[in-house]
Structure formats: C-alpha cells, structure tokens
C-alpha cells in the first residue's frame, strides 16, 4: 500500500512539473518571439532571425513621436491614479466606517466597470461628450474621466482590504479617545497604515491604464495619441520598431509587478497581529 502511494505521489510530481513547464513555455513563446524580433536585423522567410542589433531600440528612443506618446500615457496614468486615490480613500473610509449600510451600493457602483467591456463604456461616453457643452472627446480629459472609472475596482478592493486588516474602526476609536479629532486621526493613523496596500492598487491601476487600447482608440484616437495607439500604427510601418516598443512596455509592466510583489510581502510582514510575535510572553 505504502509503496504504491509513494509511486503515485512521485508520478504526480512529474505530471505537475511537466504541465507547469509546458504552461510556462507556452506563455513565454509570444514574448520571446517579440524579443527576438526586436533584437534582429532581419527575420524574413527564415525560421530563425538573422543578425543581432540594438538599432531598433536606439531608433525608438530618438523618435519624438514615441517619446511623446509614452509621455502622454504616463501623464494620463499618473493624473488618474492620483485623483482616484485622493477621492476614493476618504470616500471608502467614510462609507465603510460610518455608513456601512451604503457599502453595498458603493460596491455595485464601483464594480460595475467590470461588467462593461471597453466598447460598451465607450458608446455611452462618446454619446455624452462628443458634442454639446462638454465636448471633451478627443482630449486628455475624457480619458482621465473614463480611466478613473476603469481603475475603481482595484482602488476599492485594496483600500477596503487594507482598512479591514488594520482594524480601522478600533484605531479610529483609540485615536479619538486619546484626544485626536476625526480628521487628524484619519491622516495620522489611518492613512499611513493603509498606504502600502493602496500603493499596490495604484501600480496595478497604472499598468492597466498603460495597456488600455479600446477607450483610447474610440474616445480620442489620433488626436491624443497614447502609447498603445502609437504601437498599433507603428506595427503597420515597422515590425522591428513595434516589437521594441512592446518590449519596453513589457519591461515597464514587469518592473511595476516586481514592485507590487515586494510591497505585498512587506505588507504581510508589518501586519498588526498576523505575523508571529518576535518576543515571547513571560
């Protein structure tokens, strides 16, 4: 009995390892292919690429249109994320702690964007903002407006979880009994403690906006060219340059993910009561 179960377990490990290896290879192929394409002189009619070069990267970085597009994308993401945090953290805090009955409503409002794919959202937005008093389509403002809604679920989820793990209600009570007003308790006790968790959401939102295409394409298109729009037009001109852009974009996302991961582990280390106490009780 014991022997067979051991063999079974070993088989299981071989099976799981091969599945996961195949998965990694499969998921890496497109990335690897793009990387190879961005680093070769030529890849036409041959199985393997020919000639190593960095000239596509050099070209891209001296291309003002690329730099401008990148700048626009970074600008939109930064503004949106900052506004979103400034508005959403107090909002979520107030509703969770003082109006818990409204939380269900907040949840629905905030999670609705998950239900509406980009195209659907774009239809309503273009209808309202392409003419009339608020004709902001084609400008950065409509993107900020729309992306704020797009990143709501991330910001909500992480702020909510952070408030829960730090036991915000008790911290507020403690601070108030100790003589703090609500506002000073919020900024000296609540904000510093939820910041790591909220930062994770910001980075996630940031990379989501950098990769967003549908809304950018339908709402502003060429009149406010973001990195994704530029990439698509570049794809039709030079494959090598396009692949270099993709790689740069991907490295950026990779770095952001690495930061998220680091923050995540730092978060769990500083958690109030979850971590193993370092000192033993006498």
């Amino acid at each position: 009995m014991k022997d067979t179960s051991l063999i079974q377990r070993k088989d299981g490990r071989v099976w799981n390892t091969s599945i996961v290896t195949m998965l990694i290879v499969y998921l890496c192929i497109p990335v690897a292919g793009t990387l190879a394409y961005s680093l070769c002189q030529e890849w036409q009619g041959t199985i393997l690429p020919k000639g190593f070069t960095l000239k596509w990267y050099a070209e891209i970085f001296s291309d003002t249109r690329f730099l401008e597009a990148m700048g626009r994308s970074l600008l939109v993401s930064t503004i949106t994320v900052v506004i979103s945090l400034l508005i959403m953290i107090p909002t979520i805090f107030i509703i969770v702690l003082y109006y818990p009955k409204l939380e269900r409503t907040l949840q629905i409002l905030v999670l609705l964007p998950f239900a509406f794919p980009g195209v659907v959202a774009a239809v309503g937005l273009i209808k309202v903002y392409s003419s009339g008093p608020l004709a902001i389509s084609g400008t950065i403002w409509i993107l900020i407006g729309a992306y704020f809604i797009v990143v709501l679920p991330y910001v909500y989820q992480s702020t909510r979880n952070s408030l829960r793990t730090i036991n915000a209600k008790d911290l507020m009570d403690a601070a108030e009994v100790l003589g703090a007003s609500k506002v000073s308790a919020f900024h000296s006790v609540i904000v510093p403690n939820i910041l790591p968790g909220v930062l994770t959401a910001s980075l996630l939102s940031f990379s989501t906006i950098l990769g967003e295409f549908v809304l950018a394409n339908i709402l502003v298109g060429g009149s406010y060219e973001t990195i994704q729009i530029y990439l698509l037009s570049m794809m039709r001109v030079s494959g090598h340059s396009a692949s270099a852009i993709i790689l740069i974009f991907f490295v950026l996302v990779f770095v952001l993910s690495a930061i998220i991961l680091k923050l995540g582990s730092w978060n769990s280390r500083t958690n109030v009561s979850k971590g193993k106490p370092k000192e033993e009780d006498r």
Binding site: I94, P117, V119, V120, A122, S207, I246, F249, F254
Partner: protein, 282 residues
C-alpha cells in the same frame, strides 16, 4: 461622537460629493444615455424598437453576434479545459513556488491586445517562424495555416483565456481538503474515483463560473481582433464602427448592440456569483 451633530454629517457628506459627481458624469449618465439612445430613431428623437429589430434580423449583425458567440464559446471551452489542469498543478507546488507561478501568470495577462496580435503575426503569420518551421517539417496542414481565419483568431483568444482561467480557478482547488482525499483513500477510493465522485463535483460550480467569465471576457474583447484586422465581423468591432466610424456611424444602433453586450455581461457576472456561492457553501 456624543449625539451626532448635524454639522458633522454635512461635512462627511461633503467629502462624498466628488465621488458622486464623478460617478454620475462618467458612469451613470453615459450608461443611461446609451440606454436611451438605443430606443431613439436615427435622425429624429422619436421612440423606436427598430434598432433592436435590426440587430436581430439584419444579416450583418446576426452574423456578428453569431461569430462573437462562436469564438467566445470555443475559446472559453479550451481556456477552461487547459486552466483546469494547469491551476491544479500549480496548487501542488510549495507556497513560495506557487506564488511565483501565479505572479508570472498574472503578468502574462498584460501581454494581450495589440502586443499579442503582433507576436501572433510574427510567429504564425504567413512568414511567421512556426509557419516556416511547419512547412520545412512538411506538416502541410499546419504550414498552410491562415492567420486571419476564425480558427487563427480563436487560437489567439485561447492564449489570453488560459492565464485568466487559471487565476479564476486555482482558489477552487483549496476547497478540496487534504483530509477528504485521505479519507477517500482509506475508504479504498482510487485517485481517479476520488476526482470523479468528490473532487470534480466540488469544483464544478467554480469551473462553470470560470467558463462564464471567460465567455463574457471573449465576447467583449475588442483590441486583439481590431489590431489583427479591422475586418473581423465581431460584435465589439461592429459596435466600435457604428459609434466612431465617420461614414457608417449609426450611434443609436451601436447603442442597442452595446446594451445587448452589457446585459450578457451582467448575466455572466450574476451566474458566476451564484456559482462561487455554491462552491463556498459546501
């Protein structure tokens, strides 16, 4: 708080206004205007059900809906199927390794849209690496593969469905307790029988829920198909053309199609929530 002063309440509500204004401007009003416009006739402002009738009877729209459903269905079946195995294998690794794998998988989900379409062309396009490789190997069926066919598009969709499926599905495996497995083994059940009678029934709701989410995800996907070729007659692409195309713009009809898509998404989310609840209750 003593007895809550009306003043405090007012200040708190004031803090919620920016959020409310934003939600109204960029979520509520656009959604409502989309809904209203789907019932408005093309030129005047009269009420009509015409767009819904056109949508259901016009061959081009029928075709778009049919195409979208077909590709969403097949790519979700395949995505769920592969994710089922991959997610299981991932859960069998140590915690550290598992987290690394999940982070990797999650990161790959960023490689979708325009970058994915691009890498697909350089790998499986008419001059792509794999196409040439298959030709050299004499695998004519694969070598003469048409990247712009429906089969081709389905393959691209499957690529982004698998990692998403894994992320949705892996928590379900933690619902299967090690004790059940041990209990079943002691009662004489083989590994295969355990999965047949206990394992699969337990995760079945999650599997269905995942399928539904993937289905909705594929149904709303716009970018990949758009970047490959604007000529795929898919529901999201059709909507995009109707609202932003200069010549063929028929925003009211586009709205009707978008409403259909939105309702499908809401339905999918609802089914998923029910399914997740079903798993949790066990």
């Amino acid at each position: 708080m003593g007895r809550k002063g009306a003043g405090t309440n007012k200040i708190i509500l004031l803090a919620l206004t920016p959020f409310l204004v934003w939600i109204i401007a960029f979520e509520a009003v656009p959604v409502l205007s989309m809904l209203l416009s789907s019932f408005q006739s093309d030129n005047d402002q009269g009420f009509t059900l015409g767009h819904y009738i056109t949508m259901m009877t016009g061959p081009i729209y029928q075709q778009a809906i049919k195409n979208s459903i077909t590709i969403a269905f097949f790519s979700s079946v395949a995505g769920t199927f592969f994710a089922l195995f991959c997610a299981y294998s991932i859960t069998r690794f140590t915690r550290r390794r598992r987290d690394q794998l999940l982070t990797f998988t999650n990161m790959v989900t960023n490689f979708s849209g325009v970058p994915l379409a691009f890498s697909y062309i350089i790998l499986l396009g008419s001059n792509g690496m794999f196409t040439l490789l298959f030709q050299k190997l004499g695998w004519q069926v694969l070598g003469s593969f048409d990247p712009y066919s429906w089969a081709g598009l389905t393959i691209v969709y499957i690529y982004f469905q698998i990692p998403m499926g894994i992320m949705l599905l892996y928590p379900a495996y933690y619902g299967i307790r090690e004790e059940w497995r041990e209990g079943a083994a002691i009662l004489g059940a083989s590994n295969r029988k355990f999965w047949l009678y206990i394992g699969l029934p337990t995760i079945m709701p999650s599997v269905l829920g995942t399928f539904v989410i993937l289905f909705a995800n594929a149904l709303g996907a716009y970018t990949t198909a758009y970047a490959l070729s604007i000529n795929f007659n898919l529901l999201p692409i059709r909507i995009g053309k109707l609202v932003s195309g200069d010549v063929f713009a028929r925003p009211e009809l586009g709205s009707a199609l978008a409403v259909l898509l939105a309702i499908t998404m809401l339905l999918a989310l609802y089914i998923n929530e029910r399914m997740v609840k079903l798993t949790r209750r066990r």
